[in-house]
Amino acid sequence: MLVFALRRLNLFIFTMLLLTLLSFSLSFLFPGDAIINISGAINATPSELVEIQKSYQTDRNIFWQYSAYLRHIVNGDLGLSMASQSKISSEVLNLLPATIELSLVALLIAMFVGIPLGFIAAIKHNKPADNIILSVSMLGYSIPIFWLGLLAILTFSINLGWLPSAGQISLLFEIKLVTGIKFIDILLSDSPYKWQAFADASAHIILPACVIAVAPATIFVRLARTSMIEVLETSYIRAARAKGLSFQQIIFRHAIRNALIKIIRHVGLQFANLVTIAMVTEVIFSWPGIGRWLIESIYQRDFTAIHSGLLVLACFIFVVHILTDFIYAALNPLARGNKYGS
């Protein structure tokens, strides 16, 4: 386990270096002055500018500049947003939790829908149920997400009036921002309308989360199906069957567990995919998350926000990636010994 952890740590450091290097070089690739791009201080007076240049060590060679940049990042200073002139680190801290909340709910929905469907398809391998599930899942990952979002709003918010179409919660409720994760904030707040707010927030998250969940769910269907088929063909299942266990017992006691372990490995990869889908969905459902903020920053050519936002998002995705690797390794001892990348 220690070797495994070290190997992952090594990968983590390598990736972080690569990402910060990328983000650092972005400030040179964007049009305009690199130091302004990196600090976002567009309204700085000449004396302030000198101060900023000093802190980023622009008079020294590129290596020193990079290390000064790293120091700023480690200290949590991501510069100022060019558009709003507020601290990017605090903006990100306000927005990222909303994205995490949405993505986690979507991931749960995707897993709870996708994996059982995949198992059913595997058990009914090559029967009509299998084919139907496969065809529907193909439609699911072929559908453009923004279109699906619009259709969902039209159907469920406008025509049926079941679910709200936009935002995290009805603006009537005044919930203080503490963690940024709405459900926790509501529980922490002392509003007299606490429970209504909770119900309202739940109603708000359903539609965007379901839209996001569609594509990953179809991936989970296929993953679950493949791994279940593999498991069902293994000798220990045959042995169990030979022992005279009922079909249900075989599936629930033996097959599901072993099939699940294989799927967990892919959850991390899917999460990355899901965050991207969430970015687009946030735009459609006006979800106050980091994806919408990032895309708006691109419209406004807010370069500081773009490169810091990307850095944060990429780090976040990578951290999730490594975390799932650890969970997988903890659940499945066989994986720890495996060489990296296999």
Partner: protein, 297 residues
């Protein structure tokens, strides 16, 4: 009648031909394939086939509903948008932008990716390990996010979108080629030709490629559907094709304001994207299915 050949030769179809034999027997895959061919033809001949200009509108024909609607007009089969532009023509031209460009994107990134991938398969040691790490980092970032990053650097436009998607897809091809080449080179027939004294490139070209081409094709269909969705999504977000290009995602974004009074301006481009992606995926599924069957034979 004299036979051309004196003795009966046992014909071994190439792996690719074997695949095709199986592929053509799957009706669903063939349906997808014909849709795919249809889209290719449309993409090439859109300027000849389209009844109207995709950019200049007919200003007395604003927001005409599709022809089957009571207020529709038969010369504008799928209706018009808010500037009186024919939806059908726009969608047809859009085929060459969204579908055609994604096809070109896949071809470019396939060539570059395969070249880099096979070259890197021949290397080993530190260089290889670095590449491995690098590829893993790149591959762990979702393609759309990467494309958004690249467009953010280059600035929004259709050509930058194309470059962004190319750059996003290359690592995938590098990865799959590298993996496939390494796997094949371990096999005996490669060893045999190496013992015959064939140069690495000769081996690569004559022995390995014919055997991995199908896997690359399968990856290409995956890449194609991802490319269509990425180009359309960037267009939708206003980061891809700019006004007034009839790219499907951009048409859809343009229709957003008209969603409630002219819903066809949103439904139709969405359906077009769905159709193109489903067709591509059906072909891909067909290839993968055939690959599996061939293995089982």
């Amino acid at each position: 009648m004299a036979r051309d050949k004196i003795y009966l030769e046992e014909v071994f179809p190439s792996p690719f031909m074997q695949l095709w034999q199986i592929f053509r027997k799957t009706p669903v895959a063939m349906a997808g394939f014909s849709c795919f061919i249809f889209l290719v033809i449309l993409a090439i001949f859109a300027p000849i086939l389209a009844p109207h200009s995709p950019i200049d509108g007919q200003l007395d024909m604003l927001l005409l509903p599709p022809a089957w609607h009571v207020d529709g007009n038969i010369s504008y089969l799928l209706g018009t948008d808010e500037l009186g532009r024919d939806m059908l023509s726009r969608l047809m031209y859009g085929t060459s932008l969204t579908f055609g460009l994604s096809f070109i994107v896949v071809v470019i990134s396939l060539i570059v990716g395969v070249v880099i991938g096979s070259l890197s398969a021949l290397t080993s040691g530190i260089k290889s390990s670095f590449l491995n790490h690098f590829l893993d980092v790149i591959l762990s970032i979702p393609s759309l996010l990467l494309a958004i990053i690249i467009v953010a650097i280059l600035g929004p436009s259709i050509s930058n979108t194309v470059w962004a998607v190319v750059m996003v897809l290359i690592p995938q091809f590098v990865h799959i080629t590298r993996y496939a080449v390494k796997e094949e080179s371990r096999k005996d027939y490669v060893l045999a030709s190496r013992l015959d004294g064939a140069s690495p490139f000769r081996i690569l070209y004559y022995s390995i490629f014919p055997n991995i081409v199908d896997r690359i094709m399968s990856q290409a269909t995956l890449a194609q559907s991802a490319a269509i969705l990425d180009i359309a999504t960037l267009g939708f977000l206003g980061l891809g094709a700019q006004i007034p290009l009839p790219e499907w995602g951009a048409i859809l974004a343009n229709g957003l304001d008209l969603f409630y009074i002219a819903p066809w301006t949103v439904y139709l481009p969405g359906l077009a994207i769905l159709f193109a992606v489903v067709a591509t995926n059906l072909v891909g599924e067909g290839i993968r299915h055939a690959l599996k069957l061939r293995k089982e034979r």
